[in-house]
Every structure is written in C-alpha cells, then in structure tokens.
C-alpha cells in the first residue's frame, strides 16, 4: 500500500528534479554562450558550415509545412466565409493567425525535430566517442568551437526560415482560397495588406528568434550531457525533442502574454 502511494509521488519528484536540472544546466550553458559572444570569440569556419548545414536540412520541410499551414487556415475559415460572404476578411484571418501564432509554433516544432534532434545526436555521439574530450585535450574549447557556432546558425536560420515560411503560408492560402472557395488571389492579398499586420509579423519573427535560442541551447545541452554509449544518445535525443517542444509552447505563451497584439 505504502509503495503504491509512494511510486507516483517519487516519479513526480524525479520529473521535477529532472526539470530543474535541465533548466539550470541549460541556463548555465546559455550564460557560457553569451560570454563567448561578447566579445565574439568563436570559430567562423564552423559557423559557416553550420549555417549552410542547418539551412539545407530545414528549408524544404519549412516550405512544405508553411504551404499546408496557409492552406489549412483557409479550409478552417472557408465555411464562415462562404456563409457570410466575408471574403475580404480572409486575408486578415489567415495573416493574423499564421504570422503571430501558428506559423512560428509549427515551424519551430519542425525545426526542432529536424535540426535540434540532429544536433543532440551529433554532439552526443561526439561525447561518447570522446571527440569532445579530444577537442579539450587539443586546448580547444568545445563551447566556442561546437556550441556557439550552432547557436548562431540556428538563431539566424530560424529568423530567415520564419520569413520564408510566412511567404509560403500566404502562397498556400492564396492557392487554396482560389481553388476551394473561389476567392481571387488579388482579393486575399489586398485584404492581407490592408489589415496592417506588421506587429503580428514582427511578433512572430521575435518568437522564432526565441525558439532559435531555446532549440539550440537545449539540444546542445542534451547532446553534451550524454552518458553511456549509443543508448545514451538515443535517450538524449528523445528528451531533447520533448523538452524543445515544451519550451516552444512555454515561450510562445510568455511572449504572447508580454506582447499582446491585435487587441
């Protein structure tokens, strides 16, 4: 009986400890990254390599996600638009939800699944094969050489991909509106332009940059913390994906709360 009661409690306790450890560790890592950035002392070559790698890995998935996000927003609103004939609101509705909310979240999630998981696996493998220790033994700081370039690359790329994604979401919405409910592209675009969504657009961009920070810091932290061979790498990738998703929703909530737009 006692054990029956204690088991869930101790599991809650363990999760809380794990959470505290993750937040504490990731914050420390973030601090060390900032210290390496001011003044900037990190590896330029590796940063270029990462920028290229991150971009190549993720642009296709972002484009596809964005096209569908735009299309889905139109499908969701199609019913009301058809019934009320309020086609002039379609551009506003799509733009508002995509720019400020759905776009950053979905692109952030795709990015973390693609780039974040990859980073954790790569750094984790470098830890278990002692490549990270080998760097240290060559007097090269793994933070400056491995982590900061990934941090910079992911942040820049999240921003660029968000701009790209917003564009393709509008394309997806326009195409769907045209074929599904017969709203002419020009109607949707002009409705979008007239809705003055700059705040929403910038908010979404700001969220994307925050996601870039959290994804890079968390995935590097989980990667560098790997212990115990291939199973350890698997476990870390798993934890990293879950933590990244949770962080994305949490950051989205906090940013949306601090900077309410469109009210």
């Amino acid at each position: 009986m006692r054990r029956l009661l204690m088991a869930p409690l101790s599991s809650v306790g363990r999760s809380a400890l794990g959470l505290a450890e993750t937040i504490g560790g990731a914050t420390l890592l973030f601090g060390r990254i900032l210290r390496a950035l001011i003044p900037p002392r990190f590896d330029r070559d590796e940063t270029w390599r990462q920028l290229y790698g991150v971009g190549v890995k993720s642009y296709a998935i972002v484009v596809v996600t964005a096209l569908f996000v735009g299309a889905i927003m139109v499908i969701q609103t199609a019913f009301y638009v058809r019934r009320t004939g309020a086609t002039s609101l379609l551009g506003y509705g799509v733009g508002f939800t995509v720019f400020a909310e759905i776009g950053p979240i979905l692109i952030g999630l795709m990015f973390s699944g693609r780039v974040g998981a990859n980073t954790t696996a790569e750094l984790g493998t470098m830890v278990v094969t002692e490549q990270v220790d080998a760097l240290r033994a060559l007097a090269i700081d793994p933070i400056r050489y491995l982590v900061v370039p990934r941090f910079v690359a992911m942040m820049i790329m999240m921003g660029l991909l968000m701009v790209l994604g917003d564009g393709f979401a509008i394309i997806g919405a326009t195409l769907t509106a045209d074929t599904l409910i017969g709203v002419d592209p020009s109607v949707l675009i002009s409705s979008l332009l007239e809705s003055h969504l700059l705040d929403e657009y910038l908010l979404g961009l700001g969220k994307a940059l925050c996601f870039g920070v959290s994804i890079s810091v968390l995935s590097c932290w989980f990667g560098l913390g790997v212990r115990g061979g291939a199973t350890g790498v698997g476990r870390a990738v798993n934890n990293s994906v879950v933590a990244n998703a949770a962080a994305i929703f949490f950051i989205d909530f906090v940013v949306g709360w601090l900077f309410p737009v469109g009210l």
Binding site: D45, T129, E130, Q131, D133, R136, L138, A139, I140
Partner: protein, 247 residues
C-alpha cells in the same frame, strides 16, 4: 617532470585507483602496463584534466595542476598532448583538416599554411597519402596514426600515448616506436605510454610501471621487470594464462 602523488579515483562504488604514486623524469619514456580495466587510461587522463582525482596531487613541470580550472588547463594542454586509446578523430572533417585544426586555432595560420604544416606532421606517421580521406573511410590502425600526428601539432614537451600501437600492423607499430624514440632523443619529449605491446615496451621504455589492483605493483627499469620474481609481474610480462592475477 611528471608526478602523480597518491591518486585515488572511484566511479560510484568502483574504486579504480587506490593511491597511485608515480614519477616520470624529464626526457624519459615511461611505459604503463596492466590488465584491461586496471585504470591505465583513467590514470593518464588526470594529467590533462579530463578527469579529476578524488584525492591526491598531480605535478606537471613543477606546477601543481590538480585543481586548475578548465580554463587554466587549456594552457597545460598545449604543453602536454594526449593520444587517446580510441583515435577520436573528428569525423566531420578530412584527415588533413583534423591535423590542421590545432594550427588554425592556436597559431592563427592561414588555411594553406596550416595544411602545409599538417602534411609535414602526417608524413611523420607515413599518412600523407590519406590526407584527403575521411576518418570513417580508414581502419583503426590508420586512424590511430593520424591521431598521433594531430597530437604532435602543438610541439608538446610532454606526450601521453594511450595504446599507440594497438591495432597497428608490426611494421607500422615499429614505426611508431621509432617515432616515440626520436621524440625523446631528438626533441627531449617526456612521454607516458600505455601499452600491452611487449616488444615496444622492451625496445623503447626507460622505465615501466605496472598497475595492479589500483596500485603500482612494480616501478622499475625493463631489466628489473625481466628479473622480477613477483609472480603477478612475471605472469603479466610472460603472458601466462595461469597464475595469481585477478582479472
């Protein structure tokens, strides 16, 4: 000079080192021997700060390095290089870039100049032909030779070789032995070599230390090892299956 003073190290309940004391004089090559899992790799990693002792002190070149911070250890590591037991090449880079990396990071050399010097180091281990290949395409023995070249890039005064000839063919192993000998004779490098390779040991070592059960069992010249009547030592260096050694 390198001094380990009464080093204790445990991993959880597992006591690996139980008070190891060891001295390597300037310009000497010390071979560390002992069965698998005896703690040879653990011991040498303390010297470059990759592991920290539970107690004890480590003196390198007259300076107590035991509790230096990670940042302070970077200066020590430029002086004291380490070749890992598993070759630990960076598998995202070519062989040449692996060896050129320390040049680029520490001497701020141009890419061409760094590559040129890296090729010189690769030539020391007869690996210059593999420069454009990637670590994943090479076998263990070849990778290990590249790792040796990479460790020598910073012209260290002290070098740790963790099983440098394991997995090498006899000719390549003899070449590595010759390289270690010439590092000592020509550049005055002080080296610790972890090895099971009896032929290397007796052809290169100035001194030998055997780790057994967390302690130094015997520390002496090759002649003293050959003449030792300690049953554990003689079982090990004669490679006999039956004897008092606990495995």
């Amino acid at each position: 000079m390198i001094e380990f003073i009464d080093i204790h190290k445990s991993f959880g309940p597992k006591r690996v080192l139980k008070g190891v004391s060891l001295t390597v004089d300037q310009g000497q090559v010390l071979y560390v021997i002992g069965s698998s899992g005896a703690g040879k790799s653990v011991l040498v990693k303390h010297l470059v700060g990759l592991l920290r002792p539970d107690s004890g002190r480590i003196i390198l070149d007259g300076r107590d390095v035991t509790w230096l911070s990670e940042a302070e250890f970077y200066a020590v590591r430029k002086k004291c290089a380490m070749v890992f037991q598993n070759s630990t090449l960076f598998d995202s880079m070519s062989i040449l870039d692996n060896v050129a990396l320390p040049y680029r990071k520490h001497f701020r050399l141009s890419r061409d100049e760094a590559s040129r010097r890296a090729l010189d180091k690769l030539a020391l281990v007869q690996m210059e032909d593999a420069a454009r290949r990637f670590p994943g395409d090479l076998g263990d023995g070849l990778r290990k030779r590249v790792a040796i070249a990479r460790a020598l890039t910073l012209e260290p005064e002290f070098v740790i070789f963790d099983e440098p000839t394991t997995g090498l063919d006899p000719v390549a192993a003899a070449n590595v032995d010759a390289l270690i000998r010439s590092l000592r004779n020509d550049t005055g490098v002080t080296a610790i070599v972890v090895s099971h390779d009896l032929r290397s040991i007796f052809s290169v070592a100035d001194r030998i230390a055997m780790i057994y059960d967390g302690n130094i069992r015997l520390d002496g010249t090759p002649q003293e090892f050959r003449a030792s009547d300690d049953p554990v030592v003689s079982q090990f260096i004669n490679g006999r299956a039956d004897g008092p050694m606990k495995i």
